[in-house]
Point group: C2
Chain length 209, copies 2
């Protein structure tokens, strides 16, 4: 089980994977130790922020010459939950949903999508990257047996709230919402919004095309 501290600020949680990626790179390059100053310089984050971020995790590997890289990687991986296998279901096996089912990177980071659901009857019984696809009507029954904690939403915007409601009603405790629709859920439900198309808007604007 990863060491969990629920009081960690979200920006810190989002930066820790940067340090992990950087540490892995340094290990590949044959380094054994890195300091927070070096991390800060190479990834352009303020040094005091790096040190503060890393203070949230229980790091034994700190020496006079900095953090021992292999320990840092191990502790970060575990702390971030990447070594634990988290089951998830995905609703909406369209273009983006099918793409996510095919991304094996998610599994490497601890997310194991165990089923896909869609309203299209013709998808029922298919497998994508070995993940079984079911009709959405089968969800309540299957969920009673499997108690999957995480739900991924890749349905069209106008179905996002209905799907979120169905997830919450059936015991889903965390929702990863890929639609640009802001879903309403009870306070005890964890929501992460990843609207990749919103990033496009920023890029297009800054590009000034």
């Amino acid at each position: 089980m990863p060491l969990i501290q629920n009081n960690i600020p979200e920006p810190t949680l989002r930066r820790l994977p940067w340090y992990l990626a950087y540490a892995k790179l340094m290990l590949q390059r044959g380094e054994t130790h890195i300091s927070s100053t070096q991390i800060a310089r190479d990834i352009a984050v303020d040094a005091s922020r790096v040190a503060k971020d890393l203070s949230y995790i229980n790091l034994q590997g700190r020496t006079r010459v900095g953090y021992q890289i292999d320990t840092l990687i191990e502790v970060l991986n575990e702390f971030l939950g990447f070594t634990h296998n988290h089951h998830a279901v995905l609703f909406g096996v369209g273009s983006l949903g099918a793409a996510l089912l095919q991304d094996s990177g998610l599994k490497q980071f601890g997310l194991d999508i165990v089923a896909g659901y869609d309203i299209k009857y013709e998808l029922d019984g298919m497998r994508i990257n070995n993940v079984p696809i079911h009709h959405i009507d089968a969800f309540a029954d299957l969920q009673r047996k499997m108690s999957v904690p995480i739900g991924i939403i890749t349905v069209p915007v106008d179905k996002a709230q209905d799907v979120a409601n169905m997830m919450v009603d059936n015991g889903i405790r965390a929702i990863w919402n890929f639609t640009p629709f802001r879903i309403h859920v009870p306070d005890n439900i964890v929501v992460q919004n990843t609207s990749i198309y919103a990033h496009l808007a920023v890029m297009f604007n800054r590009l000034g095309e």
Copy 2:
């Protein structure tokens, strides 16, 4: 051409697609007008923030009963650059890269990936979702002919900086970085970081598993 104002704060640019998604939903439901108060209530953003965000765009559709929805959608779509066709190349046709090539949602939001590049010779000459894949060595020559402005990075972390350098050297002006590595680029290059795995870390932590 979309109306571009480069002084728009990034948080505003990221919220505008929420309003667009919401407006499309209301249109589908047969509504003709929406107020910023209504938007604010339904997507849980402060009403004054919605009004401020929308003040950045040149909206003619405002009446006593709020914004005219069809105008709001049209103006937001154009303002955000979603109606314009932006060419992009993608480096790293692995699991995530291939998944992005297959996501037709990107094209609907104005991003047209015209080529994929990879170091694997066996991928050279393939097509994924009708996008041609080339060996990375062909990039400089092809880029001279095509002058593609946007580069997408889905390579392994240890190759991210090399690929970013190659993109910048060959005239790419905006980089969409899907790796958790913080690339270094000149100040005039636009960078958007979308590390979807970092969102997993937040979700796992909040879920408390």
